[in-house]
Symmetry: C2
Subunit: 313 residues, 2 copies
């Protein structure tokens, strides 16, 4: 089977992905720069933010396997062939990395480590009140592979964990309460100290974290955004932080990435900026996951982690 | 039974401790400012860094129950009655708090969150290489109640955990290797990325983290000191950080506390300063623990968590 590898990689990254994927897919031909005649027979494309048109003119394409977990940019590409199945990256190593970053951020908010960081700059020695983890209510937005992994780790650390999903009917890890619906969300926000956003970006979730959302939270709540930049209305978040309504925000994703050097988030002392690094795809494990799905296609078995284009993830 | 509560508290703290302890010890009389005749009959003292002489002139004293876990300052007090049993505070809530702070610091070192914090100040957007937890070797110095709790939590998070104890023969939580002895320590340091010091301060452990210790670690290792300030030779640590031999230090304890405003640690961008807050005693649970020990004394049962004065903890 002929395969295409297409992504906005630098040369070193492309070489790593090609080497790892080719090793897993030794019965197939993995092309980076296919000729016109190669393009006629390519059946699967393994992609990571592919350049425009990379997926056009592939008449036999039967699968687009993403190397990234989020596919909102891929789906927004008007040159994406309309009927070809798309599969997301679902890698336990990625979910582990996300759970680590989430636990780090929740621990920091709970125990005041961002506040101590501000105090350090002012050489201020002052102990903050210390609470137990079971006194801290965390609300996860989204309960996919990432959310589930975060829920397990936060629960194990002793936090009170609620997860909000579209339907509210998702099964949840032990001890994690699941809720759904807009009204229920507003009520839950009033009792939430830390919100962790892990939603996919869709028409329904864009701009969800806005002034009304922040106003529904108790004073001195905190927000962690590990979903997409467009989930947050930046001006509303900055106002809530500046007015002291919210205590802190940990942001990994932004409307424009890299975050422009002049953006207020960089220097805001109540914002922690991460460079879209909460969970990086690890090529060692992700290559195996992607290859297994392509191999399933080759053998006529069902492809896993299919994207529902109307749902958007 | 007459009891003494003695500590360097402010008025609000003293009131909280008195209220919680008195509620647990309702059959006894808990005195803050005993008369001379009261002093003749006090049998147990509940203390937190007691003022000099607070424990003198108590002829019937049979127990000194510390509200703090570390007793090095108490033992160094020349006015401490020489024969009276001393009990340390061993509170699972305290060990939980220490494990939270340790996990937060190890996650931050492992995933580069202190580096991202430095990058944020410079508005630098750059992703760091991401490794799995099982690629990170953590060495705990000390495996008492605190160390044990940290070992369990770090192991559960996937880290490679070794613990160094005086004897090397302590039983350890599942999956945690225990070592002992000075030569073994040097060899282990060469394979250690993050050292977490949780040792008690004794003549043997004072100044353990010195130039030779740091030199035995691999380049770009990191140090977390949650034991005592006097475990670290500050000049040696600063030199190791300045020369780039060590990547970062997270320090909660210092030779002089509060850390003097002019100390270099405050403004060093490779040092995280916490105000002796890695694990604060929670009066709600600690009062119950202290009261249970005093009640054991009253009923003639054995007192728990006795300090060995020759060992120093």
């Amino acid at each position: 089977m002929k395969l295409l590898l297409a992504g906005r990689f630098d040369d070193a990254e492309r070489a790593i992905w090609h080497r790892l994927l080719a090793a897993e897919l030794s019965g197939h031909e993995l092309l980076i720069a296919p000729s016109e005649s190669d393009r006629q027979s390519i059946e699967a494309a393994i992609v990571a933010n592919p350049p425009p048109d990379a997926l056009q003119g592939l008449p036999r394409l039967r699968l687009v396997q993403s190397l990234w977990a989020g596919v909102d940019r891929l789906l927004a590409d008007p040159t994406l062939p309309p009927k070809v199945p798309i599969a997301r990256m679902v890698d336990p190593a990625l979910a582990d990395a996300m759970a680590q970053t989430t636990l780090w951020a929740v621990l920091a908010l709970h125990r005041g480590f961002f506040e101590y960081q501000r105090q350090q700059r002012a050489a201020t020695w002052r102990q903050l009140a210390q609470r137990r983890a079971d006194e801290v209510a965390v609300l996860l937005l989204g309960l996919g592979e990432m959310g589930r992994s975060c829920a397990v780790v936060l629960k194990r650390a002793g936090y009170r964990v609620t997860a909000w999903t579209r339907s509210g009917r998702t099964t949840a890890p032990d001890g994690v309460r699941v809720i759904g619906g807009a009204d229920t969300l507003r009520r839950q926000l009033a009792e939430t100290e830390v919100v962790v956003n892990l939603l996919p970006l869709t028409a329904d979730t864009r701009g969800l974290l806005d002034a009304a959302f922040f106003a529904a939270m108790p004073r001195h709540g905190a927000v962690i955004n590990f979903g997409r930049g467009a989930h947050v209305v930046d001006a509303d978040l900055l106002l809530a932080l500046d007015e002291g309504r919210l205590r802190h925000a940990v942001l990994d994703v932004f409307h424009h990435e890299p975050l422009p050097a002049e953006h207020r988030y960089w220097q805001h002392d109540r914002v922690t900026v991460l460079p879209h690094a909460a969970a990086l795809t690890d090529p060692r494990s992700a290559a195996r996951v992607a290859a297994a799905n392509v191999q399933a296609l080759a053998e006529g078995r069902p492809v896993a982690h299919r994207v529902d284009r109307t749902r958007g993830y």
